[in-house]
Symmetry: C2
């Protein structure tokens, strides 16, 4: 495929603000689905179509004319994270801009650029050979960033139609630039809101200060109580099911090129790293659970000074889960800990918005080993196996509902600003990704 065309199509895809978590963008989310459907048709999968259901549409296409050959289920998502804080973007989040070898836009790496890898690999082979060397089923969803349930109910109710030998997922990152990487483990997640109530209305802090409960003070006390300054999560039972990594994993991770000081300065950009003492950054971010507060709504945050004792606060919070933690159990543990941490005069309750279990893939599976070989060829370096601190709930679903291992060939870079302002995708990785998937489809 012509590289100019690939970039033009990616730009058009990136211009659609398909923010799945915000109902105001529902029309754009649908437009993005239609865009992917049309790309697949152009790639030669004439039966590409939208699958409607409860939530944003799925995009599905298949090509099944290679009897006796393996079947791959190719997965990606066309939805993106919200773009705020918008003022920190150097170029507008939905006006893709190429600077140097990178393309900047919300969704560039997560996951529109990597969806393009799958689509362009198919198109490359179809244009060259008029056919594919394996059977493929393509399933691109629109609720990955919002935790919507459409794909889950679809996969569970269409397990027969989706039968395959492995899933191929391009939605992870390389451990370092130029280092081919397969992800074999993901953290799960519990995302929810703590609703904190104090007095039955906002009160004047002069008149009532000293006697009335303050919902944001309560929220701060609860948040501070749930996690210690030592990085340890103070939720009874939370670590009970946490499985340590194998010693083989620990040894392999120790060989990875990782400079903690450079990571602190260049990737995180902070004066100090945080987290549990005595554990490496890799362990802390891959195989230990976390608790992070994302925002606290309530009270007065406008310009100037308003002297109000806020009656209500809503805390957005999530926990990342590792094997063998369970989302429902973790949510119950959080809810109990929130109630127990509640100060006098305050009521607080935790409500789970969405959850997904952690997942692991067997690194000795032949379809995983084949992917490692292909990527080693393309990048001329030995492929490494990593885990990821992020959550791709679909991996657990494919395992559970379809019995599929997931081949996570990821082409993002650590500085691609995933979920942050100035998200980007490194264009050489776009083309190396297409090359990798073309070869993978050809050899398996």
């Amino acid at each position: 495929m012509d590289r100019e065309l690939i970039i033009e199509q990616l730009k058009a895809f990136l211009r659609i603000p398909s923010i799945s978590t915000d109902p105001a963008y529902a029309g754009d989310v649908r437009r993005a689905a239609e865009f992917v459907r049309d790309l697949l048709r152009e790639a030669g999968l004439g039966n590409a179509r939208l699958i409607e259901g409860n939530g944003h549409p799925l995009v599905y296409a298949d090509w099944l004319e290679a009897p006796g050959k393996p079947t791959l289920l190719l997965y990606g998502h066309y939805d993106v994270q919200p773009a705020d804080p918008i003022e920190l973007w150097k170029s507008p989040p939905f006006e893709p801009e190429i600077r140097g070898d990178d393309i900047f836009a919300r969704g560039a790496v997560d996951d529109k650029g990597q969806v393009m890898i799958l689509v362009c690999a198919i198109r490359t082979l179809m244009e060259r050979d008029g056919r594919l060397p394996v059977n493929v089923k393509v399933l691109i969803e629109g609720e990955e960033e919002s935790g919507g349930g459409h794909i889950e109910s679809y996969v569970q109710s269409h397990a027969d139609e989706l039968k395959a030998d492995a899933a191929v997922i391009c939605d992870t990152e390389m451990f370092a630039p130029g280092l081919p990487t397969l992800c074999i483990g993901l953290r799960g997640i519990v995302y929810g809101e703590i609703v904190v109530n104090g007095a039955d209305r906002d009160l004047h802090s002069g008149v009532y200060g000293g006697a009335a409960p303050n919902a944001i003070q309560g929220a701060a006390e609860i948040v501070a109580a749930l996690k210690g300054r030592d990085g340890r999560i103070n939720i009874p039972g939370f670590y009970d099911r946490v499985a340590p990594p194998t010693s083989a994993e620990r040894e392999a991770w120790a060989r990875l090129p990782f400079d903690e000081e450079r990571y602190r300065m260049d990737e995180v950009g902070a004066s100090a790293l945080t987290g549990e003492a005595g554990l490496s950054v890799i362990e802390r971010t891959w195989v230990r659970p976390t608790l992070e507060v994302h925002g606290i709504r309530g009270g007065f945050i406008g310009e100037g000074a308003k002297t109000v004792i806020p009656a209500t606060a809503v805390v957005k919070i999530s926990a990342r889960l590792v094997p063998d933690q369970r989302p429902d159990e973790a949510a119950e543990q959080i809810a109990r800990a929130v109630a127990a941490a509640c100060p006098a005069g305050i009521s607080a309750s935790f409500r789970m918005i969405h959850g997904a279990g952690p997942s692991m893939v067997n690194p000795e599976h032949p379809l995983i080993l084949a992917a490692a070989r292909v990527m080693t060829e393309v990048f001329s370096r030995e492929t490494v196996y990593i885990r990821s601190g992020g959550s791709i709930p679909i991996v657990g679903l494919f395992q559970r509902a379809l019995g599929l291992p997931s081949v996570m060939m990821g082409f993002g870079l650590p500085d691609d600003n995933l979920h942050a302002p100035n998200e980007k995708f490194h264009l050489p990785n776009l083309f190396a990704g297409i090359d990798s998937v073309v070869r993978y489809i050809t050899v398996v």
Copy 2:
């Protein structure tokens, strides 16, 4: 004056959204100033005018044709608090609505309704007698709710022109319905922002959770560290200058009609009261310092789920100060405590937005005693002396710059929802207030 006209004029005044703290309303703030100027001219003070300066205009008028008689400096403010959370208002905040004996609107009691008391008292006497029995200087400001400095610099630089025997301020409340009340002490305030920084940009909580500092977690830990769950402020030196009330005050307060359980349920509307153990609600809210967090800005607070580790948080916070605390010293103490409470990987600094000292008036001053007698006549009950937990910085300024005692005749009620949704003013108190000021001007 005709009661219908008074109410129509108050309604017109309340329709002007004169929110002084928000630059977007600057034009409305000026309109409110012009409205008050015109009211004063209609009342017979032909020289009413705006005084421009650095900030919102002052309104000034005087009538000085009673030589040998006392001079009163009448003070109020035409600006109001912001109206949010707007969705909790039963009627729109700037469309005044009368329900029963109350008029509901932002600024109804604080302070537009009470400014009307001063203006209508003057007009009543001018219409009846064509003159006033005392000399008056009227000074109405537009930055009381925003802590602006215009009136302070004006008073300091025009001390001679503003010479008087006492200030009369209608901006406080009655201790209970029907109970005439003079306020003789106010808390001061330090209002500011804590800016909290972690990583140099928002980060993905999956990828970096377990290693990156979280600015809102840091903000929560700082807020929780500054005040204990026992209501005690954990800021070194903060209580060093706090003066206890006299035993005479304590005895008088014990006689006030105060039902703590009713206060908790009906006024505060909370499951429990908070604050320092072993001190009465009256002591906690009148003569003890407070620390209240008003809001935390940063991170993601929109609809749905965004998994971000926020890089920055801004905490709006204030402390109420009591005699003999000093705002600048308190701000320094807060700044030091914020720095000391800062967790690893986080930087935080406190910036004071505005401050004002606490103030006390001598209850034996003849012009205070005269006010108590007048209010006892109007309400047919003995006038009580209270302190207020709120802050009226002008009282300290009049004391310091002009040597004036402030006669704080307040006509608000405890359930008037000051600074909160559904602010109201009890119309019988509007008319009793006018009656009280008319009599006071007549007898002093």
